[in-house]
């Protein structure tokens, strides 16, 4: 009876050692396993190429009506051009307000002319902050 218990205890000890070893082994390479990028196309910018690519993003810096830094609202109020009544009626509300120099131009709507240039500022700031971390190359 006692020998059976002793054998059982020996087996339990062996099992525990095996488990400990396997856990240790895995925890060594665990950091690589958990550091794999979840999406191959995503990058934390750190090189000059990364920041240059950010500043080259044309949609943000120069894009058209849905994207970029084209604040034309000031130009609407100039006398560089005029529009027909039909075109005036069909324009967006803020465009009509800017054209006639109304007291309230935006009236609660979000203004792309103001918001989009700030996006370009954010990109530029990220690039400026980022290149400070890059040590200059010594020749």
């Amino acid at each position: 009876m006692t020998r059976a218990i002793a054998m059982e205890k020996k087996f339990i000890r062996i099992y525990f050692i095996v488990i400990l070893y396997s856990l240790l082994y895995v925890s060594c390479s665990k950091s690589d396993f958990l550091n794999t990028r979840p999406d191959q196309s995503q990058v934390v910018p750190s090189t000059l190429e990364d920041f240059q690519a950010l500043l080259d993003h044309d949609n943000t810096f120069n894009g058209g009506s849905s994207f970029g830094v084209t604040p034309n609202i000031g130009h609407i109020g100039t006398d560089d051009y005029w529009v027909t009544d039909a075109n005036f009626d069909a324009s967006y509300q803020y465009e009509r307000n800017a054209y006639i120099w109304a007291k309230e131009i935006y009236s609660g709507t979000n203004s792309k002319d103001w918001s989009f240039p700030y996006r370009a500022v954010l990109y530029a700031n990220i690039a400026l902050d980022g290149i400070e971390e890059i040590p200059p190359k010594t020749l």
Binding site: V43, P45, L54, F88, E104, G108, N110
Partner: protein, 588 residues
């Protein structure tokens, strides 16, 4: 000790969409970019004649492994009893994909146009701008790796008193996160008192009575945002160069969402299990909730609609609720009935909001599952709207209130209505909900049906917006009910059609209280009729049992609180049709 290791590799799953040369999609794509020489009249086609074919390939590699220890020990007869498991699990899923498009595709002759110019911007045939041929070539690869540690321990004394402990830590390859932040811990401690095992317990008609109490902690990290700046590489729009777009702005303060929850429950069962069930009460507090909150546009986080939101830890909340479940089982020789009733009631409220809050009522209009309305003391997802003063009898304009006066000054209403003056309707999610399932059997025939109910929540129904109608041809049936002449204001609430379009007028009407409806409803989920019989054993085929059934689902709503009978699940989409299925099950 138990080990388990599975290794699966799925074969490539391909998909393709082929637009034939006769389809509108292909004809329009070819025509819009066709170039006609103004002097010679010669036609050139940058997108060649023929079909357009899109191909996608996907490969999923998935590995999984687990090591687990189980322990069971009883001491002193049945006085002390211990059950425990502890384990470690690892999982990895790698999904890689490719996609590409072929022009001039002719399936019959296996031909594809060899040279397509993806770079030149061609003038459009209708004269409104330029266009480039889409090159949809793309590769992608996503990797999800998980490591989990878990343990579950249960100690019972005298089969009456038990103490349990469970703990778990899940780690994943979250992007841009420090190593010690990759894991989320979860633990809970609980106790139970099995009253029916007490020596003094003598209620024969209630053989099961058990009290439970537990307290737990749970943490959650977001997989869609990270503390570091993340960019994605794309091709440029105007040149073939490689550019990068900001995917995630830096957020050093990103931290776990944390929840503490207290549960108290009672399980009961009557004699012969005729009726059994449970009642449960819970209370929870969460801090650092991850959600979207409006943020100052000068930070540069606007989206393409100039809406500026920040996704991060924004609020704390507390909530409580009760769950009630009742099962009945009545069986005789011939007739049987199984019933299952579930009832839940829960409420929540925001206790703190960390971002600067706007006092302008118009900033509280959004109802979305990812954005929290920063109204302290109100539910996490709340419904607000502008007060409605009817239609103007002279011109059909929608009217609201400004400073207590009835007005049509939409600009003033949008800019100057404080939160206190807005109409607060209630929760955007049901506060009371549940289901009622029944199975009735008569000899070999059985009928089962499931009814669900939701109560105590609100939604905003869509209506006509003249701005959308004239800009994107988006219409709505309410157009037929619009105000058209004096007197109509007593029979309708749909504003008149005006031109030029006044988008603030449309926005006020769209966000007014008149379009908010109560979402409470009772829904018939499904019904099934089945017949089981044992065929005669003399058949050659060794069939033990046959079951024939008819099953119907998406049957419809039994009752809605809103008068227009709008289904709150399908506010903007058409409802899926009823589906009926017939089938036969053979058991060999």
């Amino acid at each position: 000790m138990q080990t388990q290791n599975t290794n699966t590799k799925n074969a490539m799953t391909a998909g393709s969409t082929i637009y034939s040369e006769q389809s509108y999609f292909t004809r329009d794509a070819i025509n819009i970019i066709t170039q006609v020489d103004p002097t010679t009249g010669v036609i050139t086609r940058p997108i060649p004649l023929g079909g357009i074919a899109d191909f996608r390939d996907n490969e999923l590699n998935s590995h999984q492994g687990r090591v687990q220890i189980n322990a069971n020990k009883n001491w002193d007869g049945e006085r002390h009893s211990f059950n425990g498991i502890a384990g470690w699990e690892i999982r990895s899923n790698v999904n890689s994909g490719k996609a590409y498009r072929l022009y001039g595709y002719d399936e019959d002759f296996s031909a594809v146009a060899p040279q397509v110019d993806f770079i030149t911007r061609f003038p459009k045939y209708d004269g409104f701008g330029t266009l480039r041929i889409s090159n949809l070539a793309n590769i992608s690869k996503t990797t999800d790796n998980f490591i989990s540690y878990y343990t579950n321990l249960l100690y019972t004394y005298s089969t009456r008193y038990s103490l349990s402990l469970s703990a778990r830590k899940d780690e994943a390859n979250l992007f841009g996160v420090a190593t010690n932040q990759k894991g989320t811990p979860l633990w809970s401690v609980g106790g139970a008192w099995q009253l029916n095992n007490e020596p003094f317990y003598s209620l024969g008609w209630l053989p099961l009575l058990k009290f439970r109490l537990s307290y737990g902690y749970n943490g959650n990290i977001s997989r869609i945002t990270s503390a570091e700046t993340v960019i994605t590489y794309f091709g440029a729009v105007t040149t073939p160069a490689r550019t990068a777009m900001l995917q995630n702005p830096p957020n050093e303060e990103l931290r776990w969402e944390r929840t503490r929850q207290l549960n108290a429950g009672l399980d009961f069962g009557f004699k012969n299990n005729v009726i059994n069930g449970r009642i449960e009460y819970y209370q929870k507090r969460s801090v650092d909730l991850l959600a979207e909150a409006p943020i100052d546009p000068t930070l540069g986080l606007s989206d393409n609609n100039a809406e500026s939101y920040f996704y991060g830890n924004v609020a704390s909340m507390k909530g409580s609720g009760i769950d009630f479940e009742l099962n009945t089982q009545v069986k005789s020789q011939v007739i049987g009935w199984n019933g299952n009733l579930m009832f839940s009631h829960s409420t929540s409220q925001i206790t703190d909001f960390y971002m600067p809050v706007s006092t302008n009522g118009g900033d509280y209009l959004s109802i979305a599952s990812w954005s929290i309305n920063p109204a302290i003391g109100k539910p996490v997802f709340s419904v607000f709207s502008y007060p409605w003063a009817g239609l103007d009898g002279s011109n059909g304009d929608p009217l609201g209130y400004l400073g207590g006066e009835i007005t049509g000054d939409y600009s003033g209403i949008t800019n100057n209505t404080p939160l206190d003056s807005m109409v607060y309707h209630g929760n955007a999610q049901p506060t009371t909900f549940g289901a009622f399932r029944n199975t009735i059997s008569y000899k070999s025939l059985s009928l089962s049906f499931n009814i669900s109910y939701k109560y105590g929540y609100f939604f905003r129904r869509p209506s006509i917006s003249y701005y959308s109608l004239l800009n994107t041809w988006t219409g709505h049936g309410d157009y037929a009910d619009r105000w058209q002449q004096a007197g109509d204001e007593s029979r309708t609430t749909v504003p008149s059609f005006v031109y030029p379009v006044n988008s603030q007028r449309d926005a006020f009407y769209g966000s007014s209280e008149i379009l908010v409806e109560n979402g409470s409803h009772i829904r018939w989920e499904d019904i099934q009729l089945s017949y089981i019989f044992q065929p005669k054993p003399s058949f050659n085929i060794p069939i033990e049992q046959v079951r024939v059934y008819a099953y119907a689902t998406n049957i419809g709503l039994l009752w809605t609180s809103n008068k227009k009978a709008i289904d709150p699940y399908f506010i903007n989409n058409p409802r899926p049709g009823r589906s009926i299925a017939f089938g036969v099950n053979f058991q060999f």
